[in-house]
């Protein structure tokens, strides 16, 4: 079981690095989707034996929402907007990759020092979660494209979720579902806003640096 778990975690780390190093929106969306699917498998690595039906349902919902619904929504958005690449990011792609590696090192260092109570299934879980959160924050800050920023938000949520699985946080089923619903509606509303932005302001091409009418 441990090996499967570690393989999943490494997979999540790799998807993060892929997003940091790529300039194509399609790659971002696919990497985010793969990350979501990998995440949903994390639920099964908990206990030996047949998983509880709640967990199966939760994993299935996660997989469908993060692996299927979000990617298709986002792909529709980029088709409609006609943007395919992240142009002129605030931080270059190779620099982002190196920052990612540094963050991974930092996450490992911190993860090794956190006094977690209880049994921790893998000492990679917490660093991976932290690294994923970092990646999401980085994508939001260092990229201009609005779709990348939505994806950054999703990646942050993935990281928080990984952490929740890591510590087996005692969130009851209903609350987990509520959290998922919130994220789902959140992304949905964001995508609708994106459609409007695209329709309202033609020449903007989802470049958030052009959204600068409101300031002091």
């Amino acid at each position: 079981m441990n090996m499967v778990l570690e393989a999943l975690l490494v997979f999540i780390v790799l998807t993060n690095l892929l997003m940091l190093g790529s300039s194509r929106l399609g790659v971002y969306i696919r990497a985010g989707a793969m990350q979501g699917v990998g995440l949903s498998f994390l639920f099964f690595t908990g206990e030996a034996g047949w998983p509880h039906s709640h967990i199966v349902l939760l994993a299935l919902v996660t997989m469908v929402v993060k692996g299927l619904v979000f990617p298709s929504l986002l792909f529709r958005t980029i088709r409609q907007a006609g943007v395919r690449r992240e142009m002129e990011p605030y931080v270059g792609f190779t620099a982002s990759l190196l920052a990612g590696v540094a963050a991974w090192g930092f996450a490992l260092w911190v993860g090794g020092r956190l006094p977690l109570p209880g049994v921790i299934r893998s000492d990679l879980l917490v660093p991976t979660a932290m690294f994923t959160i970092f990646t999401g924050l980085f994508l939001i800050v260092a990229r201009r494209n609005a779709i990348t920023q939505v994806l950054g938000y999703l990646v942050i949520e993935n990281g928080v979720f990984t952490f929740g699985v890591a510590v087996e946080a005692a969130t009851p089923f209903l609350v987990e579902m509520g959290i998922l619903l919130d994220i789902f509606v959140g992304v949905f509303v964001m995508v609708i806003t994106l459609f409007q932005i695209n329709r309202e302001i033609e020449e903007i091409h989802m470049d958030t640096s052009k959204l600068a009418a409101l300031k002091d």
Partner: protein, 477 residues
């Protein structure tokens, strides 16, 4: 009872999405607001009922914030009906249906925030408030409101994601009591919580929900969203939602207090409070847009709340009391600003002159509301600000107290000029020729809010005093 409180706005909200006949929509909005207020009043003084196996409970702190929300929503609904029938009467019915639906769902989510005793559920509710209110900001469908909506969505969602991480940290801290997130269990088992994780959780709650509260330096979305939203949405965002988001931080302070960490985080609350006030003061002085002016004033008042809660003791009571005063005052000013905006069709301070002549009632309320909000006696805000200042000097933070008073003065002076300039003078000739009429429905709720805040300045009903004391005791004041 609690279920009804939640379900009434939720169901009517969902219904409203389907209704395509405007009079029915407006009736739905009013009826829900009235019944919600009625239910809230009925809960007053009753015993704290629990529901859903302890997940929902109306404790004094929740009661206080729920009452503010309900009252403000009633005022906003009365105003809103006139608003929808007035300048927005040409908006298509579907468009209005989404607006009313979101408004009612927004009320339901805010009610859930006040009621929830499970910190995971609290997170779900607070995130839901963001989602329900985002379409409200975009009501006018301009590119500016779009920008404001986008910033609001992204910044608040990311902030709140961090609060979810904090919630998981809290679950780790509660590992000795099986990671429960139910407030009562956390408080009861306070002694065995793991302190380092509890501290981490507090930091993330402060940053996460602090974004939603609009504490500097996490406030950047607030002026945009509050200034671009329609008047009654601004009123609710500022007067109701900010408080409710603060409840997230306060719940964790409750747990910290039970775990013997009552002093932890006081410094950061005081620091963020003063910083918020400073940032607000800087942007208030010389502000050119009167709705942004009000938005920055919200940042300032959230700073006062943070300061009060950070100081503890008298400060906690003062902050809770100030939450009421701020909500009444800010609600009143945002609604009046809506009237002015409709009369003048501009948000630029320099282009608005002679409100007293053009819109007599609104002009009067504009000045009176400004005096009440900034704490000129007799006003509840005067008392509550005095209490916070008193707490600063009492608890041995004289410099904090001095800085607080200094900043209040700067804000007062900074706001006095634009407010008085707007009220006085001669209105532009072409507007004066048209002689706009003020609708009674758009002045009456504002006037009642003003009456409320002034009454609190010299008479606080015993029931409210009792509630404030209870809530302060609960929050570890």
């Amino acid at each position: 009872m609690l279920n009804a409180l939640l379900l009434v706005p939720a169901i009517t909200g969902l219904l409203a999405f389907l209704v395509r006949w405007k009079p029915v929509l407006h009736a739905l909005l009013l009826a829900t607001a009235v019944s919600h207020a009625g239910l809230t009043v009925r809960l007053w003084g009753g015993p704290a009922v629990a529901d859903w196996g302890g997940w929902l409970q109306l404790d004094p702190a929740g009661m206080l914030f729920l009452s503010i929300t309900s009252l403000l929503f009633l005022a906003a609904a009365i105003y809103g009906v006139s608003y929808l029938r007035g300048e927005c009467r040409l908006y298509p019915a579907g468009h209005q249906a989404v607006f009313v639906g979101c408004l009612l769902v927004f009320l339901a989510t805010m009610t859930l925030v006040c009621l929830s005793q499970h910190l995971g559920l609290l997170w779900v509710a607070i995130e839901a408030t963001t989602l329900a209110s985002a379409p409200l900001i975009y009501f006018h469908r301009s590119s500016r409101s779009l920008e404001a909506t986008w910033k609001y969505l992204v910044i608040c969602s990311v902030g709140i994601a961090l609060a979810l991480l904090g919630t998981f940290f809290l679950s780790i801290a509660a590992n000795p009591i099986e990671g429960t997130l139910i407030l009562a269990d956390l408080v009861a088992g306070g002694g065995v919580l793991l302190a380092p994780w509890l501290k981490m959780a507090f930091v993330f709650f402060l940053v996460g929900y602090g974004t939603k509260v609009g504490l500097a330096p996490l406030h950047t979305w607030l002026p945009d969203a509050h200034s671009e939203a329609p008047a009654m949405v601004s009123c609710l965002l500022s007067g109701a939602l900010l408080n409710n988001a603060f409840l997230g931080i306060l719940r964790l302070r409750q747990v910290c207090g039970a775990a013997g960490l009552a002093t932890f985080g006081q410094g950061s609350l005081i620091g963020m409070g003063l910083l918020s006030m400073t940032v607000a003061a800087v942007f208030i002085v010389g502000q050119t847009d009167f709705k942004r002016l009000l938005a920055y004033s919200s940042v300032e008042h959230m700073g006062i709340l943070a300061l009060g809660f950070g100081l503890g003791g008298l400060g906690t009571v003062g902050a809770l009391f100030h939450a009421i005063n701020h909500s009444l005052g800010k609600g009143l000013l945002f609604l009046t600003a809506g009237n002015i905006l409709e009369g003048y069709h501009t948000k630029t301070i320099a282009e608005v002159r002679g409100v007293r002549r053009l819109l007599p009632a609104s002009g009067l309320l504009w000045v009176l509301g400004f005096l009440a909000l900034t704490g000129a006696p007799p006003s509840g805000a005067f008392l509550s600000e005095l209490m916070v200042a008193g707490a600063a000097f009492q608890n041995g933070h004289p410099f904090v107290g001095l800085a607080f008073l200094g900043l209040l003065t700067v804000v007062f002076v900074g706001m006095a000029r634009p407010f008085l300039e707007m009220a006085g003078g001669e209105p532009p000739a072409e507007l004066a020729a048209k002689k706009p009429v003020e609708s009674g429905l758009r002045v009456l709720p504002v006037g009642l809010l003003w009456l409320g805040i002034v009454t609190l300045g010299w008479y606080v009903p015993p029931a409210l005093q009792h509630l404030l004391r209870q809530a302060a005791a609960l929050l570890g004041g």
